[in-house]
């Protein structure tokens, strides 16, 4: 377990999957429990669920907002420089400037190009980051407000905090392979890809494998819900020379534990051992 010492050997491990429901949270929550001093960071801000298992206490909340343009109509001369500038087409001029908040990518550029300084930025709350403690494990969870368009600014805030942490961090990533996932793996030293033994699962594994390869992240696969039958995800790994670091069998006992909102490594010695073995297999980085 030497790679999990403080600071100098601190590792940031991102857990992703492509397909939802494969076991990212199972793996990330349980690894955070068995690695001494580890921090759990939930970047699946649209549907965070790690906190449901950890039930953290001593919560500290931080509101996250984005800066949206606000137009001072008295200063605006209708020159439309802001409209022409905006690459996202979030602005229109119809006798006055219209701002489309959901399309704005809050780059702040319009406030700079306006020759009359008629544009200021105002805060729009989009969610929060909550930090707490669960039996000695530090829990950082991001929550995107229902109706808000993008969780990326919340993930960025979590990523900044992760860099300040002294201990190993396990990042529970969103499903898929789009912008939120890319943002979540930014700081990682190693990526664990969790895959189901189905064709659909292997297809999604392919998508995240391409993503982490593009980002030049070393990675390994955990095959979850293995039932002894043909495993397209295993075959995918063998075809592409991807390290398989563990195989977790399909187990109804595990679904009972999850269904009760309990953490397997905390209530079952069998699973504590399984996850400690997995932790040992994660390669030393740097």
């Amino acid at each position: 377990m030497s790679i999990f010492k403080k600071k100098e050997n601190k590792t940031i491990i991102a857990v992703l999957s492509g397909k939802g429901g494969t076991g990212k949270t199972l793996v990330s929550v349980n690894l955070a429990c068995v690695i001494p001093g580890a921090v759990y960071a939930d970047c699946d801000v649209e549907e965070p669920n790690g906190h449901l298992f950890f039930k953290p206490i001593n919560l500290k909340k931080k509101e996250i907002g984005i800066l949206i343009p606000s137009i001072n109509e008295e200063k605006c001369t209708g020159c439309t420089k802001c409209v022409e500038f905006c690459k996202f087409n979030a602005l229109a001029y119809v006798g006055r400037v219209m701002v489309f908040e959901e399309i704005c990518h809050y780059c702040g550029g319009c406030t700079i190009v306006c020759p009359e300084k008629a544009i200021t930025e105002v805060n729009l709350n989009i969610g929060k980051v909550v930090i707490g403690d669960s039996e000695g494990t530090r829990i950082i969870s991001g929550f995107l407000n229902v109706g808000s368009v993008s969780g990326v600014p919340i993930i960025k805030d979590i990523q900044k905090q992760i860099k300040e942490e002294e201990h190993t961090v396990i990042v529970d990533c969103p499903p898929g392979s789009a912008c939120a996932v890319m943002e979540s793996v930014q700081s990682s030293d190693y990526c664990i890809l969790v895959a189901e033994p189905t064709i659909f699962g292997s297809h999604n594994l392919d998508m995240v494998y391409k993503l982490v390869t593009l980002f030049k992240k070393p990675c390994g696969v955990i095959l979850n819900k293995c039932d002894g039958n043909e495993n397209p995800s295993e075959e995918y790994c063998k075809r592409n020379g991807i390290d398989i670091i563990a195989e977790i069998p399909y187990d109804s006992e595990l679904s009972d534990i999850n269904g009760n909102g309990e953490i397997a490594a905390r209530v079952s010695q069998k699973y504590k051992d399984i996850f400690m073995n997995i932790a040992e297999k994660i390669p030393k980085v740097k």
């Binding site: 087409n89 979030a90 229109a92 119809v94 219209m98 489309f100 959901e102 993008s150 912008c179």
Partner: protein, 121 residues
Amino acid sequence: MKIALPVDEKNENSRICVSYGRAPYYMIFDSDSAKVEFVQNTAADSAGGAGIKAAQLLVNHKVNILITERCGQNAADVLIAGNIKIYRATKALVMDNLKAFLQGELEELSDIHPGYHGHKN
């Protein structure tokens, strides 16, 4: 008054385009001069906000009427703010829609859809 219709091709025999925001061209008919011009839709290949940019284009051309099969919410917000009325196209060919409008046969478009939204994060 100026009447705009989204078209697939830059000629009067064109079909009306099924998309408003990403139509390749707009045909603009000026009823005062009875002249027709074709304008390229610079919004067609936008990553996002195409409807907004397409509506801005029509506002800039001082269009009064838009005839279209469908229209998204963001585009409609700009068009309505720019005093452009939106009518529902009912024919396949652009000129048939224009004739139908001029004969008072077309109805205003009342069901604005939420917009197909390109990816946003």
